[in-house]
Symmetry: C2
Subunit: 201 residues, 2 copies
């Protein structure tokens, strides 16, 4: 009943998160009936984004350059490193305006049952970065989920040998909540009232 290309478009729109077949069909029709120019602009934007946006070679957030704007910013505190699970969390914390250090973006969180261990998450690279001596405090801002907590605990163990203060954002982040959906005020509270987790703090 669909034309071939319509079916393909619906199928590809389903690659978007939380888009089922009804939504995808609705999106395809909307674009074809009312947003034909916009659809071409979206196609162009997708191609440009995939071609030019990649991971920052230092913090692993997303950038169009070799090194992202935040890593390059000499006015930010190089001694303070905020560890998050995803670039979305960097965006959320930046929007809260409560942090002026640098970031380190993990590839998600530990999930042993899915075969996602320290190597896949990028923990060895983070420990190596911390070993270089420039960083005096690490703020663990992984999600307040079971996996995010486990990842934070694992990081505390991995950094035991380093003379670095380790803190965990705490106050205000609701249990089970995912960082990118927390409002700016709550994030501000969480960063301001961060709690020490190890002894050199």
């Amino acid at each position: 009943m669909y034309t071939d290309r319509f079916g393909t478009l619906v199928q590809k729109l389903r690659l978007l998160p939380s888009v089922g077949s009804k939504s995808a069909q609705r999106m395809a029709l909307h674009l074809l009936m009312r947003q034909r120019t916009g659809a071409l602009e979206l196609a162009q934007a997708l191609q440009e984004a995939i071609e030019h946006i990649h991971e920052c070679s230092i913090c692993h957030s997303l950038t169009e350059h070799e090194i992202c704007d935040i890593c390059q910013d000499t006015e930010r505190d190089d001694g303070l490193l905020c560890v998050v699970e995803s670039p979305a969390d960097v965006f959320a914390i930046e929007q809260s305006g409560s942090f002026k250090g640098k970031y380190h973006v993990l590839h998600g969180h530990l999930s042993p049952l899915d075969g996602i261990g320290p190597e896949e998450v990028g923990i060895p690279y983070l420990v190596q970065r911390l070993s270089q001596g420039q960083i005096r405090e690490v703020i663990l801002a992984t999600n307040a989920t079971v996996e995010g907590q486990a990842t934070a605990h694992y990081l505390v163990e991995s950094c035991k040998h380093l003379p670095i203060k380790i803190t965990r954002i705490a106050q205000g982040v609701p249990q089970g909540g995912e960082l990118e959906y927390v409002d700016s005020h709550t994030l501000h509270q969480a960063l301001t009232h961060r709690l020490p987790l190890n002894q050199s703090s």
Copy 2:
């Protein structure tokens, strides 16, 4: 904080129906982090769809050809015409499997306050199609909304001079409901129990 191209992608994703800025950001990150190949396939599918899919020159539904498969289908009843507001409604009725006639797709419904009158909706072209004498019954399957009802009533008036039976899908379509979201069984009921609206019925 966004890179330029990330911001552009988020903005273009917002052209999709029911996608706000948070959803668009989530979609952009999902594509960049986990669906880079899929994103390029989506871009390609969008371009191909816009290039090749257009209105059928007879029924105004969507097709990749000059005339759509349904209009070309000689096994369907040429004397029975189902009038709908959008190609999505054609899809919904086809999925219900309860109709073997032909279709006519209006450009939405009458909406005088938005400057959308009979000409914009394509009613003169429909009346012209009906005047050719091949059609013996018109099933008005515009939405069961206030605008869809008004459009159906306007069509009854516009066809008064023609020796054509006019019916309206009725039973089962919930008041205020939009046709493309109605389940197949309800659509089947609505088509089976259609009610005559004018005197030549």
